[in-house]
């Protein structure tokens, strides 16, 4: 109380002018304006314009001739085999890349949390793949996964495994694409987990140790529960990333159809193929909105699960 009193007096003595007061109410908006202007131009407008375009038949070659289709583009998607294939691929590649990635990141973070020699080096090294461009990483991996002259098949050959067609085989190609995603994002997630781990109070570990808990038990009963909000965050971000996966499958073979039989074509890539391969902008816009809604649903489900769990916890 005594501390705030002089400040209050000072404020009373120097009454701010009307202009100053007006500025004070307006300024937060002024500071925010650049962001919202940019957002309106490059976020909101494209979003709404895409919704508008998705209701028409529009071709890139003849953008002036728009033909009203209502929800025809959306209805067509439901009977479009290629749409379902790409939706399925998005899901399987999403699982193939997200699950190992998060599990490995957790393990790596746990290791990094120990007192290590050259900790900073390891932590920086973790982030290097993340700093590499998608294009560069994908092109290198595409070489590694080459069928005839690739390093991976060469290594497999050394242990007597027949060469795998990493481009054409459905499962193999999805694993190959997932590998690129895993390689790029594991380190990033590991660092986020590490930050989460370091905010867990050390008293908890000490108490657990007193009770005779092994390192493993500590990991499962102290670290994991403490990390829950972080894990939820990374799961949400990875899910969104997986739904939007685009660069890796596009550059893997440089094919807009995601391989000769669409075996690793994701939703993002299918949208690109419709829009910039076939120039059907209306259909591409409809796919874009379906993806948007899909992400909203996924994030919503995630949030629901989290809320239910924390309510359960509170009730316990």
């Amino acid at each position: 109380m005594t501390l705030t009193a002089p400040a209050g007096k000072a404020a009373a003595r120097r009454r701010p002018s009307a202009a100053r007061r007006a500025w004070r109410t307006v300024s937060p908006y002024a500071y925010l304006a650049p962001f919202f202007t940019l957002f309106a131009a490059f976020g909101l407008f494209p979003l709404l314009y895409t919704a508008f375009v998705s209701l028409y038949r529009v071709e890139l070659q003849t953008p002036g001739d728009m033909e009203w289709r209502g929800f025809g583009n959306y209805a067509a998607l439901f009977t479009d085999e290629f749409f379902w294939i790409s939706l399925r691929n998005t899901f399987t590649i999403g699982v193939l890349s997200t699950v190992p990635q998060l599990v490995m990141a957790l393990g790596l973070a746990h290791l990094l949390n120990y007192r290590l020699r050259g900790r900073t080096f390891f932590r920086t090294a973790m982030l290097l793949p993340y700093a590499t461009s998608v294009a560069a990483a994908t092109l290198v991996f595409a070489q590694l996964f080459g069928r005839d002259f690739g390093l991976v098949n060469y290594a497999l050959g050394l242990v007597g495994i027949d060469p795998v067609d990493w481009q054409t085989n459905t499962v193999a190609s999805q694993i190959a694409v997932s590998t690129i995603v895993i390689w790029r994002w594991t380190g990033y997630n590991a660092l986020i987990y590490l930050a989460g781990m370091q905010s867990i109070p050390s008293e908890l570990y000490e108490a657990a140790e007193m009770d005779g808990a092994s390192r493993w038990r500590q990991f499962f009963h102290v670290t994991l529960p403490g990390l829950r909000p972080t894990i939820v965050f990374t799961a949400v971000v990875s899910t969104i990333g997986a739904t939007q996966l685009f660069g890796e499958p596009l550059l893997f073979e440089g094919s807009v159809s995601g391989g000769i039989s669409h075996q690793y074509q994701t939703l993002g890539l299918y949208m690109y193929e419709q829009g910039w391969g076939f120039f059907h902008l209306g259909r591409a816009a409809a796919i874009a909105w379906v993806m948007f809604l899909l992400i909203l649903v996924l994030v919503g489900v995630n949030a629901l699960i989290v809320r239910r769990r924390s309510r359960k916890e509170a009730g316990r």
Binding site: P63, E81, A142, D148, Q167, F279
Partner: protein, 443 residues
């Protein structure tokens, strides 16, 4: 108030149509603007000393720079500088060109068009390219092969591009590999033995029986299909512009031959234009490859110095055909249209086309140039008389009916053939996949 004409007779008032069109244009501009910022615009500007920089945007390997043609043109025309950009894959090039055409910005003064796209240009986008008759192009008509000229002419007589090369077809082969398998290597003898496609497959089976390890008869069944379809006049469209790929017996024959080759295991199962395909040239993964004239430069590039003298060229099985070829056009949005026209007229003139063939192997579409190169041989291909082989093929090749989606349909079918040979998909299933793929594009 503007009364916008509603061409399709939709229930729109003039005003609404105008607003909508304006909105579309705004969107297209916003969209392409963002894309262009990344590509760096190909715009050219006059420097303070009055030099005009002409921009030329190409795909694949036209070879103008390599043949020294730009340098010569710059010497002949002081005050002109030429800047070339090049995209390796035509599909990527076409996508980027379409985006820039829709936005109306970032276009080069000269844009190349592949023959599989020329129908789309004349039928759908004629308003976006300069009518070259404005600059007196009609007097060049007699210099070009008739089919080449007419394909770039719209119904109302506008000329939208000047022909560069054509793609007369032949068969390239590795003499060293054929010899190892105990097959003849003489081009006349081979041409006799594989005068039909059945004969070609038969030789392939003989090759397979005695071939060196990891070496197949041909690179991919997709290329076999493409070269065969190049021998046909009607392919995916009939003269009225209707899609006929499902009913055309020529497509069926080529498809069946390709799947037969796949079943017999004659192919190295490589996708054309993939990095693995590129590596395979030097590695000797295949003994023969169907080659249009423009492929010669590509083979030299991929097989390198080490391949010199190991390759040869013979007449194509089953008669003459044409695969590919290109045009040079001037977009409406170009900055220096007149100068651009002068340049493409010079580049496509007989002397330059002939020189380009001798240096790079791109076969001329200009009749004068064809006569000039009749005696040409190529030491890289064991001294093969390329002028005669490709000249004869060019003369006998059918005049092809072109359609708006020619290239897209072809891509779907060759993709399906890759499924057959690489995934073991049954030909029937693969054909239905190709059909669905085509519907997805044209529907």
């Amino acid at each position: 108030m503007t009364i916008a004409r509603s061409a399709t007779g939709r229930r729109t008032t003039g005003r609404r149509a105008t607003v909508r069109r304006a909105a579309v244009r705004l969107g297209a501009v916003a969209l392409t603007g963002a894309l262009l910022a990344a590509c760096g615009s190909g715009a050219s500007d006059e420097a303070s000393d009055g030099t005009v920089t002409l921009t030329v945007d190409l795909f694949g390997s036209f070879g103008y720079k390599e043949a020294g043609l730009y340098a010569e043109y710059e010497k002949l025309h002081p005050g002109i500088k030429i800047k070339q950009t090049d995209t390796e894959d035509e599909q990527d090039y076409w996508k980027s060109l379409q985006t820039r055409l829709a936005g109306g910005g970032g276009l080069a003064d000269v844009q190349a068009i592949e023959v599989g796209r020329i129908a789309s240009v004349t039928q759908q986008q004629a308003d976006r390219f300069e009518d070259l008759t404005k600059y007196g192009a009609e007097k060049l008509k007699g210099e070009f092969a008739e089919a080449k000229w007419s394909a770039a002419t719209t119904k109302d007589g506008r000329v939208l591009g000047l022909g560069t090369d054509v793609g007369p077809e032949a068969m390239c082969y590795r003499t060293d590999l054929l010899k190892q398998a105990g097959l003849p290597t003489d081009r006349a003898e081979l041409a006799r033995k594989w005068s039909t496609w059945d004969g070609y497959l038969e030789l392939g089976k003989q090759y397979k029986a005695k071939a060196p390890a990891k070496s197949a008869w041909l690179d991919s069944v997709g290329s076999l299909y493409t070269i065969m379809i190049g021998q046909e006049e009607e392919r995916y469209y009939d003269a009225s512009g209707k899609l006929i790929h499902e009913s055309n017996p020529a497509v069926k024959t080529a498809w069946d031959t390709a799947t037969e080759a796949a079943a017999a295991g004659l192919s190295a199962k490589l996708d054309q234009w993939s990095p693995q395909w590129n590596q395979a040239f030097a590695a000797g993964s295949f003994a023969t490859i169907p080659c249009p004239a423009w492929m010669l430069g590509y083979i030299k590039g991929q097989a390198g110095e080490a391949g010199k003298g190991k390759w040869d060229i013979a007449k194509l099985p089953g008669g003459a055909g044409n695969w590919g070829g290109s045009y040079l056009s001037v977009p409406r949005a170009a900055k220096h249209k007149k100068e651009a026209y002068d340049l493409i007229q010079w580049l496509t003139a007989p002397e330059q086309q002939a020189r380009l063939f001798e240096k790079q192997g791109n076969f001329p579409s200009s009749t004068g140039a064809i006569a000039k190169v009749a005696g040409a041989t190529d030491p890289y291909f064991s001294g093969a008389p390329i002028g005669k082989i490709f000249g004869d093929a060019a003369k006998a090749a059918p005049v092809q009916v072109l359609g708006v989606h020619d290239k897209n349909v072809a891509d779907q079918i060759t993709n399906a053939l890759s499924e057959v040979e690489r995934k073991g998909t049954s030909p029937d299933k693969a054909w239905s996949n190709a059909k669905k793929g085509v519907e997805n594009i044209t529907g």
